[in-house]
Assembly symmetry: C2
Homo-oligomer: 279 residues x 2
């Protein structure tokens, strides 16, 4: 059975450890904080834990489960401890910049993105079965070893994920549409409502807001650090999506300004029809 | 006990009938279609039903529960059958144009908006308790009789609603923010994603779309006729909200273009903080 290393014991790393141990893998975990190491041990998310990356010197496969901006620096620190056959992967939500840097540093690297999560963060939020039915995207390049792809893909399937394999660019463009654009669209909704200057209208709006506002604003009320990071690392694909979005919005505004109700209804009919293709 | 009339036996009229009868009111219902009258009788949503408005000649209070564009025409047809003391109200989701016309036609009119609903429509979707904990807004004018406000407000409370009273303008401005703007924002998201021209990216986006996309796009995939009607009858408040929204969106786009990640994170922090005021 493979020996697995986890760097970063938050929601994703912790949940992965719980499941992997459940399926019989030996799991070694590294966190910056001793307290998190202890929590992971107490929860049963790891067999051993340490604040020192050298703990992972004998593992077969390492998941880097830390924020996007730390993945490359952590890989650099890991390399002195790794054996040449050790496979390294990550769980970052943007792939192109991460894969470019990491593949260059470590040939046995394959980028990955398990699309599971919840509002809570940290090891306290870790749970078994978090990845069941979640999409798991692997983003190899032309030089990624097949064994690395197969190994990470096999474990994704064991965790209950639905595996997709595509280029880092295709991944980043797709998630710009269905994940990063919705976050910005939704945040703009909250920001716009905050601009209502009449306190009686604002108060009433706050009292009347129900499921429609709740759902549309949900991802815009998410973790600001995560939102900023997605935008920073996927800026060109996100800008492309935002510009297309603004055109769609301007079309609606134009129909209303021109009182072209027939075209507006056709537009809304088309969006109603199209939504089911995504869900 | 008051005798209540319902015109329009769809989701709202039907659900109201079920609850009102449950609380001991006598309920007479009118629908354009004989089949709907029979369904309402079979479901126990009304005591009597007819396709003829003259059925309502002896009731104390009438709810017009039909689409916004039909409220004024129905009131005109009702008037020959009404006694002077009969109170008339409606359930339309935009108030200013409706209240202006109807108050002029019938002095004993008070506009209302019970903010309950679900994806399904029609008498088949009617259910008991639909209005429990829902907001119910009454929008009197300076000439609305106090008895009309009190009577409709009392029944709203009996139905389990949380009552708000404000001017038609304040109502329309508040719902533009929390109901009509989200519908347009959400529809634009679906429309933008439909513009992806690379079939492999579109296919992947459709496969990867999960809870974030589902929630943000939900109200944009709603009933197109209803969306068009909200926009048509609340066009000036909705345009105001849309223009403010576009400014918020442009602020986000500017931060990303300028790679001003610090400001973007502050923006997202502010929206995260503000969202809880609405929910």
């Amino acid at each position: 059975m493979m020996k697995i290393g986890l760097v970063g014991l938050g929601l994703i790393g912790g949940s992965m450890g719980l499941d992997l141990r459940n399926y019989g893998f030996e799991v070694l975990g590294v966190s910056r904080k001793q307290k998190t190491c202890q929590q992971a041990l107490d929860l049963g998310a790891v067999d051993e834990a340490s604040t020192d990356l050298s703990l992972l010197k004998s593992v077969d496969l390492i998941y880097i489960c830390t924020p996007i901006n730390t993945i490359t620096p952590i890989l650099k620190q890991l390399i002195p401890h790794l054996q040449p056959q050790t496979i390294v992967t990550d769980v970052g939500s943007v792939k192109k910049p991460v894969v470019e840097e990491c593949s260059h540093l470590w040939s046995n690297f394959v980028g990955g993105h398990p699309m599971a999560g919840k509002a809570e963060q940290g090891i306290e939020a870790a749970q078994k079965g978090l990845f069941i039915k979640a999409a798991y995207v692997l983003t190899p390049t032309s030089t990624t070893p097949q064994l690395a792809i197969d190994s990470v893909g096999e474990i994704a399937t064991i965790l209950g994920c639905q595996l997709s394999i595509c280029s880092p660019e295709t991944h980043d463009r797709a998630v710009a549409w269905i994940s990063h654009l919705p976050a910005m669209v939704s945040a703009s909704l909250i920001a716009a409502c905050m601009e209502e200057l009449d306190p009686s209208v604002l108060q009433l709006a706050q009292n009347l807001a129900s499921s429609g506002f709740r759902d549309t604003s949900r991802v815009g009320g998410g973790n600001p650090e995560l939102g900023e990071m997605m935008a920073r690392y996927n800026s060109s694909q996100l800008l492309n999506a935002l510009c297309q979005y603004r055109q769609s919005l301007d079309t609606i505004i134009k129909f209303i300004q021109q009182e072209d109700w027939c075209s507006l209804q056709e537009f809304l009919q088309a969006t109603q029809d199209a939504r089911s293709n995504f869900l």
